[in-house]
């Protein structure tokens, strides 16, 4: 049941995109962890650059998307830059769409 809720939350987070990269935050590897206990969901996420105004909107967007999932009573989203995000975290399936070179 808990695993199903985590997956539903993960799926819901795909509506939140990084404005610059144009891909959702799940496939970009911004979501470090999703934990659920009862209906309380805790999400740990990151972004590409600390201090960027987009960072706050990404966190609030994740909070709104998770809160809208049926079965979620509360959603707490924590932003972290430890460890820092790297390009390796991007899902291989969308690397090409971002124009990444094969060698990279």
């Amino acid at each position: 049941m808990t695993d199903q809720l985590v997956e539903r939350v993960r799926e819901a987070l795909r509506v939140v995109i990084d404005p610059e990269l144009g891909e959702n935050i799940v496939d970009l590897g911004f979501i470090y962890d999703i934990a659920a206990a009862g209906g309380a969901v805790r999400i740990k996420m990151t972004a590409t650059t600390p201090g960027c105004p987009a960072t706050s909107f990404l966190r609030e967007g994740a909070q709104a998307a998770a809160s809208a999932v049926p079965g979620v009573v509360s959603a707490d989203v924590a932003m972290t830059f430890e460890p820092a995000w790297t390009h390796d975290l991007i899902a291989p399936s969308i690397r090409a769409s971002l124009g990444f070179a094969a060698v990279n």
Binding site: T48, F57, L98
Partner: protein, 445 residues
């Protein structure tokens, strides 16, 4: 700081800056303040200050209020200072220009106009330096160091300018007169080289890495670039002031500064090549492609400077050299980055608040790059043609080039307004429920 705020008045700064740019282009197209005429001629002083304070400095300040917090991951020291600073800068510039026009007989004599303009500009730039300096000082790492050196150069530029203004009014005594007689190159180098160029370099490191997903340039490497640039400005200002004080010729000081400046430009080129080589995103957006043309123009100014010095004609062609620096390098880079920054900030303002609640477009969906490309192409071709016209001593050809630059800039401004009005966003995503259309001239959030 996890996430920064949007600076409310950045768009207002950009709008004011672009208005001054159009004014400068109109003056050049009309043949007023031709860059090849005497630098001290009142009409030339009007043109130079419209460009350097009205256009470039205003645009740079607006961008820095938004991006210095990103560079240092700290909030701006005070958002409340940004609008009064713009008001003071605008009023100061208008008074200064009126003072120059009075000098040239275009307005009735008003010796107090220049000192008034200087006081207002000192106050306006003082607020900018205070706000940005205190923001960057808390965490002076990487590109933020460039901004700090740029702000120090701005202090020197403004101080020289204020002394000149009082001296032109006859209120600065013999010391002021001596500084006015020989200090103009120091004022120009501190402004164009220190304030505008070093700051543009610093911001570009972060923006290029961020938008192309490239690793940041190694700190040791960029510090060397900054050291060369910073020493060039320090040699100019410190050595120049000493030379003026003891009535020495400025040639030795300017030669040392030129060598250090060339070293800085070469090292910056090496740093940029590294960013482009190591980028993860291979496809370049329009703003990046156009930025490359401004980097090429910077390289062109270095080559032109060396060539003119070698054949001993730099004093004769100083106007062409300054024109390529100002319009090819600095203005080209600012226009290319404005195109991107406006789209990015407009996206944040419009779609940031509804993220997670509705599907949103990408930043790139706000711009129509294919259509905008031609305006940038017209702009750069006209700038390079204008430089050649100045070198060839063809004022009529230069005015035609200035008119073509005006067409290009009008086109770019039209594209920016379209971005701000979300006119190129496909209708299903344009204004989702809960999103508020942005105001053209300031951020609502």
């Amino acid at each position: 700081m996890i996430g920064g705020n949007m600076s409310r008045w950045t768009m207002t700064y950009f709008a004011a800056a672009l208005t001054w740019l159009l004014a400068a282009l109109a003056l050049m197209a009309a043949g007023i303040g031709h860059p090849a005429t005497d630098l001290a001629a009142p009409d030339t002083l009007v043109l130079v200050h419209v460009i350097c304070i009205g256009w470039l400095s205003t645009a740079m300040c607006g961008a820095l209020f938004q991006f210095v917090p990103v560079l240092v991951a700290r909030p701006l020291f005070s958002e409340r200072l940004t609008l009064p600073a713009l008001g003071l800068l605008t009023a100061g510039l208008i008074a200064l220009l009126a003072g120059f026009m009075a000098l040239g007989g275009r307005l009735p004599s008003g010796p107090w106009l220049l000192p008034l303009g200087a006081v207002l500009l000192v106050a306006g730039f003082g607020l900018v330096i205070l706000d940005l300096g205190l923001t960057a000082w808390l965490r002076p790492t990487g590109p933020a160091r460039f901004v700090l050196v740029g702000l120090a150069s701005l202090c020197a530029t403004v101080t020289f300018g204020a002394v000149f203004a009082f001296a032109l009014a006859g209120w600065a005594g013999p010391v002021g007169d001596a500084v006015l007689a020989r200090g103009i190159p120091l004022h120009a180098i501190a402004g164009l080289g220190g304030w505008l160029t070093l700051t543009a370099m610093g911001v570009s490191y972060r923006l290029l890495s961020m938008f192309m997903l490239a690793p940041d340039v190694e700190d040791r490497q960029s510090r060397l670039t900054l050291a060369a640039g910073g020493l060039a400005v320090a040699a100019t200002v410190g050595g120049g002031a000493f030379a003026v004080g003891v009535a020495m010729r400025l040639n030795a000081v300017l030669s040392v500064a030129a060598l250090l400046g060339l070293t800085c430009a070469a090292l910056y080129g090496r740093d940029l090549a590294g960013i482009f080589r190591n980028r993860k995103r291979r496809e370049l957006e329009l703003n990046m492609r156009m930025a490359i043309l401004s980097f090429a123009s910077l390289a062109g100014t270095a080559v032109l400077g060396i060539a003119l010095v070698s054949i001993g004609t730099l004093p004769l062609h100083l106007g062409a050299f300054a024109f390529l620096t100002v319009f090819g390098w600095l203005s080209g880079l600012v226009l290319a980055k404005l195109y991107k920054i406006v789209a990015f900030l407009t996206w944040l303002e419009t779609y940031g608040p509804v993220m997670g609640r509705a599907a949103t477009p990408r930043v790139q969906d706000l711009a129509a790059e294919q259509r905008a490309t031609k305006w940038f192409a017209i702009y750069y071709l006209a700038v390079w043609a204008g430089t050649l016209a100045l070198l060839a001593g063809e004022p009529s050809a230069f005015r035609i080039a200035a008119a073509a630059m005006t067409v290009g800039v009008f086109g770019i401004i039209h594209e920016i307004i379209r971005i701000r009005r979300l006119e190129d966003v496909a209708s299903p995503l344009r204004l989702p429920a809960g999103a508020v259309a942005p105001h053209l001239l300031f951020a609502k959030t």
